[in-house]
Amino acid sequence: MTPELPAIIESLLFAADEPLRLETLRGVLDGVDTAAIRQALDDLAAEYEKRGGGFYLLEVAGGYQLRTRPCFHPWIRRLRGSGGERLSRAALETLAIVAYRQPIVRAEIENLRGVDCGGVLRLLLERRLIRVMGRKEIPGRPLIYGTTRQFLEVFELRDLKDLPTLKEIRELAPEEAAVESPQETPKAPPGSKNP
């Protein structure tokens, strides 16, 4: 194994514009075996953790990608100006239904949600979070929907099996579903408003 393998991989990760797949790495690093590549990736990830700098290595959508640490988002948003529009609750719900129940047709989604989903589906298609996978061979030949690679990338999922397991719900919180995630609260840059 060449001692500088992690550095080579680091350069590839830096230059790549999408999650770098193991197969791609193997192709580029002709002759280096998979175990060594994995080891180098692990070493890099550990190094970034130890350093605690601005970015980290994430395994996502079947590949590896360098991403900025969540706690720096206020600054990056300022750098980039107003970010993309956030997904509405309706859009998120519909997306979750497609993600967990795909392949699925519109009528099935609407059955679950109890409301019309045409507009929301269009929005999700536009944002490339879902895609049409074909038509179901039943009367009316409705479109079949599934999620995209972009969905995995946005929601930091390795693959569809990586989706959080559905919880059985017995009791409802008294008012407003309790949001109990001890998210790291970032120190916002001076003068920035937290959305």
Partner: protein, 238 residues
Amino acid sequence: MQSTDYAVRVEPIFEGPMDLLIHLIRKNEVDIYDIPIALITEQYLQYIDWMKTLNIDLAGDFILMAATLAQIKSRMLLPVHSDEAGPEEDPRLELVRPLSEYLRLREAAETLAQRNLLGEQTFVRRPEDLPRAEAEAVPVVRIGLFELIDAFRQILERIGPAHQVDLDADAISLKERIAQLIDRLEQHPSLAFDQLFDGQVTRPGIIVTFLAILEMARLELIDIVQHVGTGIIRIFYR
């Protein structure tokens, strides 16, 4: 002052009947597996009346749910025959099943939203906006069906008779082929027509691929264009 009636959009409060139902269950602090159906039905109908007075445009879904509730309520009132045939299923299950499924997925949506979303919590370097080969400036025309069929025939001819072995075991469905092609197009948003046939050496394989391309064009998933100068046909993922 305007005297015209104004319609209130119901969405921000209760997007659908399910949300209203959940709101009521929550407000009354009852177990969703033991819903006091009479109470909830009564309150549900009150809300509907109230929404009607507010001139809220009620979707048919709300009325349908009201009917379901009323029906369950009446079935609950019927005397229960404890036959040998075993206990009758709780009529409320008809409501509880979709409700709990909906809750599970709603919860999942919330969990997903709390992840470090790309573009919100976490960011990647932006891909450079380099002018790609064959940029938009290249004159292209939307291709007609006949040109497409010509191109298809050329590919079929290229494989020659020797390769035209029908291996039924390998046959894949149109749907699978579309999924495969979309996977490739997601990685390369534009591919030459010929490239879509890479790895297809059998006649059925090529035909299925061609049909898949036609179907995808019909579903408006792809654009098929032809370069005016070279005649090369390219597929663009939309």
